[in-house]
C-alpha cells in the first residue's frame, strides 16, 4: 500500500520525496474509498512493473473518461495541494508568462507522447484484462 502511494506520487512529482504524512493519508483514503475496487489489480500491476502510470491513466481517461486510476491521482493531487511544500506546483506566484507560452508546444508534444505510450502499454501488457469493468 505504501508502495502504491509512492508510485502514484512519483508519477506526479518525480523530483519530490513523498512526505510520510501524505502516505498515511493516502492509505487512509485507499481504505475508505478504493477498497477492492475494479482498478486495484491494474494499479498493483502497474506499480509492480514500474510502468508509466501517468501515460496509462491518460490513455484510459481519453478513451473511457475519468476512472479508478484517475481518482487515485486526484486523491494524491488534493493531498499534496494542501501542503506548503507543493505550493509552487499549484499556485503561480511570480511572473512567468514567457515560460508559460514557450512551454505550450512542449506540453502538446508531451501529451501526444504520453498518449502513444499509454496506448502501447495497454496493448503490450494487455492491461484491459486487469479491469473488472
Amino acid at each position: 500500500m505504501t508502495g502504491e502511494a509512492q508510485y502514484i506520487h512519483r508519477a506526479l512529482f518525480p523530483r519530490q520525496t513523498v512526505p510520510a504524512a501524505v502516505v498515511a493519508r493516502y492509505e487512509a483514503a485507499r481504505a475508505r474509498f478504493f477498497f477492492d475496487d475494479a482498478y486495484a489489480h491494474l494499479v498493483a500491476f502497474l506499480a509492480e512493473h514500474r510502468l508509466d502510470a501517468e501515460a496509462v491513466e491518460y490513455a484510459l481517461r481519453l478513451r473511457h473518461g475519468p476512472n479508478g486510476l484517475t481518482r487515485r491521482f486526484q486523491v494524491m493531487l488534493t493531498l499534496c495541494e494542501v501542503r506548503s511544500a507543493y505550493d509552487a506546483a499549484f499556485v503561480q506566484r511570480e511572473q512567468a508568462a514567457a515560460r508559460a507560452w514557450s512551454g505550450a508546444p512542449w506540453m502538446a508534444l508531451r501529451a501526444a507522447w504520453k498518449l502513444g505510450r499509454g496506448m502501447y502499454l495497454m496493448r503490450t501488457h494487455r492491461l484491459d484484462r486487469l479491469l473488472h469493468v
Partner: protein, 522 residues
C-alpha cells in the same frame, strides 16, 4: 399555543420570523450546525504558504474533502469539511428521487444561504409579471431586508434600472485585474453592447465592504469554498442567532416537519426528530411554511395524503462560460482577489431577460479541475497553474416558467419524485461567445458547461401565488388555498422564475406576509 410557527430557518423562514417579532413565535428547524474543526484565520493563499499543511482544515480528519472525487458535489462550495454539513442528512430525511433532476436540499441552520452567491436583485414589474404583487408594493420590504443585511454594489451604473435603487448601498467589491479589464472594455464598447441587449455593471451583493450591524467587511480571504459564515457574507443564521439571543423567538432545532392539520383555532404541526425515533405535535394559531420550495411542497402534499397531484417545479438553468484573458497566462495569481461575484451581466433577447455573474478563479483547489483538461496529469498541473490567473467564469442564468414536464409528486414511501427537462439555447450561447470576445477574452462555445437540471439551486413555483388561486396555490397574502391558517413563505410562491437570483425577493415576500400576519395576531 404559539401565535405562529415558522418551519425552516432559510432566508424565507428567518425573515418571516423577523417580521413576527413581538408575537409568540416558534421556529421548527432541522438546524444542523457547522462541524467543530480548526478555524481558518487569514488569507487562504498566505496560509497555504506559511502553514506546513492545511490538511485538517481543507480535507478534514475524516477525509470529507475527498468525497467529491467519488460522488460529484452539487456545488464546489459544498464539498469541503467546513461546508459539506450544509447538505447533511437531506438525502435520508427528505429524499427526492429522480433520473432527470438533482435536488439540493439543506437541513442546516440558515439553509442553502450558507453557501449562496449572495446576489441580491430587486425584481422589477417586468420580473414580477404573473405575480399578484407589484414592485412598488414590495419596495418597503426590500428596503427593510436590505438595511438589515447590508448590500454592496454600484447605484449608478448600467444595471441600476435592472436591479433597482437601494437606499443604503456600500461600495462595490474590488475588481480583480482580469475583471477590471473586462469592465473597461465594456465601457469602451458600451453602445455596441447595449444595442445587442447586453448590459454589464458591478455585482449587487449581500456582502459587506464596510462594517455593518456588528459584522466585519469582506476580507478577500478566499475561504468561501472552505467555511460557512464569513461575517461579511450575509447568512440568515446571523439574524436567527440575534433573534434567539434577544428571546424574540422560541427556536426548536432537531425537527423535520412532516405534515399539519388545521383545527378550529389554529394548526397542529407534526414533526419528526432527526434520529427518526421521536415525533411530536406542536400547536400554533398560524403556520408559515418556509422549508424551501421542495420541502414545503412535500409538507403540503403529505398533509393532504395526496400521492396523485403533480406540483410545478422551476429552477434557473445555468450556462457557465470560461473566459480566458491570454495576456494573463503565466502571470501571478491575484491571491487577494474576491472569490465572490464581481460583475453582473444582463442579456435581453427575444423578449426574455437572462442574468449572469462574473467570478475570478481564486479560492477553489486546482486539483478539482486538473482531470478535466485533455492533458496528462503532470502537464495538467502546470497548465492549471499557468492558466488560472487568466481565467474568469461567467455563470449565466436562464429564466424559467412552469412547464408540464417539470414537476414534483409525493410517493407513498414519503419520497418526492421529480422530473425536469431543459435544453440550452446553443444559438444564443454561440452569439454571446462572440460578444464576450469583444471584451478581450477568449470564449469558446465548446467549453461552455451546463450543470444538470437542479444545479441552479434556485427552486421555486411549487405552491405559486395568484390573484385567484386554485388547489396547492397561494393567495397574494401568502395563504395557502383551502386553508385558513397556513402560509407559504419561500420560493414555493413564485408563479414564474426570472433569471435574477430569487433570494432577496423571497425574503421581501416573507417579510410582507409576516408583517400582515403580525397585525392580525394582535
Amino acid at each position: 399555543m404559539f401565535d405562529a410557527c415558522v418551519v425552516g430557518s432559510g432566508p424565507g423562514g428567518v425573515f418571516a420570523a423577523y417580521g413576527l417579532r413581538g408575537r409568540r413565535v416558534l421556529m421548527l428547524d432541522a438546524g444542523l450546525q457547522p462541524p467543530a474543526q480548526p478555524a481558518l484565520d487569514g488569507n487562504l493563499y498566505d496560509m497555504r504558504r506559511s502553514a506546513a499543511d492545511l490538511d485538517r482544515e481543507l480535507i478534514g480528519d475524516d477525509l470529507r474533502g475527498l468525497e467529491h472525487i467519488f460522488t460529484p458535489p452539487a456545488s464546489m462550495k459544498l464539498k469541503s469539511p467546513g461546508t459539506a454539513y450544509i447538505l447533511d442528512g437531506a438525502e435520508r430525511l427528505t429524499p427526492v428521487v429522480s433520473d432527470s433532476f438533482r435536488a439540493v436540499i439543506s437541513l442546516a441552520q440558515g439553509g442553502l444561504a450558507n453557501a449562496w452567491g449572495a446576489g441580491v436583485y430587486r425584481f422589477t414589474d417586468s420580473d414580477l409579471r404573473g405575480f399578484p404583487v407589484t414592485a412598488a408594493e414590495l419596495a418597503p420590504f426590500y428596503d427593510e431586508v436590505g438595511r438589515h443585511m447590508g448590500i454592496s454594489g454600484s447605484g449608478d451604473d448600467d444595471l441600476r434600472a435592472d436591479f433597482g435603487a437601494e437606499p443604503q448601498l456600500q461600495a462595490p467589491v474590488r475588481l480583480s485585474r482580469n475583471v477590471a479589464r473586462i469592465h473597461a472594455k465594456y465601457q469602451a464598447r458600451r453602445a455596441r453592447f447595449q444595442a445587442a441587449g447586453v448590459r454589464l455593471g458591478h455585482a449587487r451583493l449581500a456582502v459587506l465592504t464596510a462594517p455593518h450591524n456588528g459584522r466585519a467587511a469582506y476580507g478577500y480571504r478566499n475561504l468561501e469554498f472552505f467555511q460557512a459564515h464569513d461575517p461579511a457574507i450575509y447568512s440568515p443564521a446571523f439574524t436567527l442567532r440575534e433573534m434567539i439571543a434577544a428571546h424574540e423567538i422560541t427556536y426548536e432545532p432537531g425537527w423535520i416537519v412532516t405534515r399539519y392539520e388545521e383545527t378550529e383555532n389554529g394548526v397542529r404541526i407534526h414533526a419528526l426528530a432527526l434520529d427518526g425515533r421521536r415525533s411530536q405535535v406542536f400547536e400554533a394559531r398560524k403556520l408559515l411554511l418556509a422549508a424551501g420550495a421542495i420541502n414545503s411542497a412535500r409538507i403540503a402534499l403529505a398533509s393532504s395524503h395526496d400521492f396523485a397531484t403533480r406540483l410545478p417545479l422551476s429552477d434557473n438553468p445555468i450556462a457557465v462560460f470560461p473566459l480566458i484573458d491570454l495576456r494573463a497566462i503565466g502571470s501571478p495569481l491575484g491571491v487577494h482577489d474576491a472569490a465572490v461575484a464581481q460583475l453582473n451581466v444582463i442579456v435581453e433577447e427575444a423578449g426574455r431577460t437572462l442574468q449572469g455573474s462574473i467570478y475570478g478563479s481564486t479560492g477553489a483547489l486546482r486539483s478539482d479541475l486538473i482531470a478535466n483538461f485533455p492533458l496528462p496529469l503532470r502537464s495538467g498541473v502546470a497548465f492549471a497553474r499557468a492558466c488560472a490567473p487568466a481565467l474568469t467564469l461567467l455563470m449565466l442564468f436562464y429564466p424559467e416558467a412552469p412547464r408540464d414536464t417539470n414537476y414534483l409528486q409525493l410517493r407513498p414511501d414519503g419520497a418526492l419524485g421529480a422530473a425536469y427537462q431543459w435544453t440550452p439555447d446553443t444559438a444564443l450561447e454561440r452569439r454571446l461567445c462572440g460578444l464576450w470576445r469583444q471584451l478581450g477574452v477568449v470564449c469558446l462555445p465548446q467549453l461552455i458547461q451546463h450543470p444538470a437540471p437542479g444545479g441552479g439551486i434556485h427552486y421555486a413555483g411549487t405552491l405559486p401565488m395568484a390573484e385567484w388561486p386554485g388547489r396547492y396555490m397561494t393567495y397574494p397574502d401568502g395563504r395557502l388555498h383551502g386553508t385558513r391558517h397556513v402560509y407559504s413563505c419561500d420560493g414555493a410562491v413564485f408563479p414564474s422564475l426570472p433569471a435574477k437570483n430569487l433570494t432577496y425577493t423571497l425574503m421581501a415576500l416573507a417579510l410582507r406576509t409576516a408583517t400582515r400576519l403580525r397585525g392580525e395576531l394582535q
